[in-house]
Point group: C2
Chain length 191, copies 2
């Protein structure tokens, strides 16, 4: 039996943000954060993102507002959605492991709570400075082929485990897709 739950996320996913906020309430369970690039994952799985269908998008906006409200999570649909999350996710894997959780909290909040435009380099730089992350090193790292390859590999590995979207939870080789399924993943963990 697993002693943790794997949590696959991309910062661009509003439901991953909601899942992350819900996860923070479970102090007794170890969640293993697994970064992936959602755009690449969707391509591998031949899935069109709901962001590109206006009816699904409208539903996602209403639904995220509703689910956040029901779960007492501060949330605001980003007016610059969607953006390409590739560099932000490369950034996550390029920084020191000890900084990753703080980086994630900060970038999730910036995008899904504070409506910041994270396609803007100045906005990213400001967040990095707040996190005491060297901006020069950061912007150099995310261009490194090794970092690019690492994100590709993490995304491919997720796909090989049958992950096709975010958030996804894996526990005892069982896959749970969607923030709605976090509670079932936790039941599996506690079984």
């Amino acid at each position: 039996m697993s002693n943790h739950i794997d949590f696959y996320f991309d910062i661009i996913s509003p439901y991953a943000y909601i899942a992350h906020k819900k996860i923070l309430k479970y102090k007794d369970i170890v969640f293993n954060y697994k970064p992936i690039y959602l755009g690449g994952l969707h391509k591998l799985a031949e899935i069109d993102s709901p962001a590109f269908n206006k009816y699904k998008l409208r539903n996602n906006i209403n639904d995220c507002n509703l689910v956040s409200e029901k779960n007492n999570i501060e949330f605001k649909w980003n007016s610059n959605f969607p953006i390409n999350s590739l560099n932000i996710m490369r950034g996550y894997i390029s920084i020191s492991k000890s900084k990753q959780h703080e980086y994630l909290n900060c970038f999730f909040d910036a995008y899904w709570k504070n409506n910041q435009d994270l396609s803007n380099v100045e906005n990213i730089s400001k967040l990095l400075r707040d996190l005491n992350i060297d901006t020069k090193e950061y912007f150099k790292s995310i261009k490194d082929q090794s970092i690019k390859d690492k994100l590709i590999n993490l995304t491919t590995e997720a796909f090989q485990k049958e992950v096709f979207g975010t958030p996804t939870f894996i526990i005892n080789n069982k896959i749970f897709w969607g923030q709605d399924r976090l509670e079932y993943a936790i039941e599996e963990f506690n079984n």
Copy 2:
């Protein structure tokens, strides 16, 4: 404030079946059953059904099994999924209103509990006989242009209300998509 909840369904939708079974437990709330043709609705909304993506399909099968188990609902993924539900949904609107609920219970169970092949006319005929529905009249009715038009109109009307999938619940002009959202729809009803 509405005194009922509109419930949009197509018999081909496993989550509509699950929603229907959950609805049956709420004795105090009137659900207004709104038949639509899901294939047509998806076309209007330019949505590819998850049935046609192998990763989403696999997830749907696992997820329906899981959700049914958690909700104590008998369920079996149909080995003839998907079939074209057009005639079965035309049938629903062609029969007398007093028979519709029984017809729905019977066809939902046949497809999503008892693994019957409902693309087979003999299987349909047997169910109709069990329901004391005149098979000759039924098969004539579903070819009537007026019945065909009625289902098109119901589907178009649903789409105009921003319904793009099943199950969908509407209460106080608010839209809730997915069996996971039945509880929120009921909270809106009770507000």
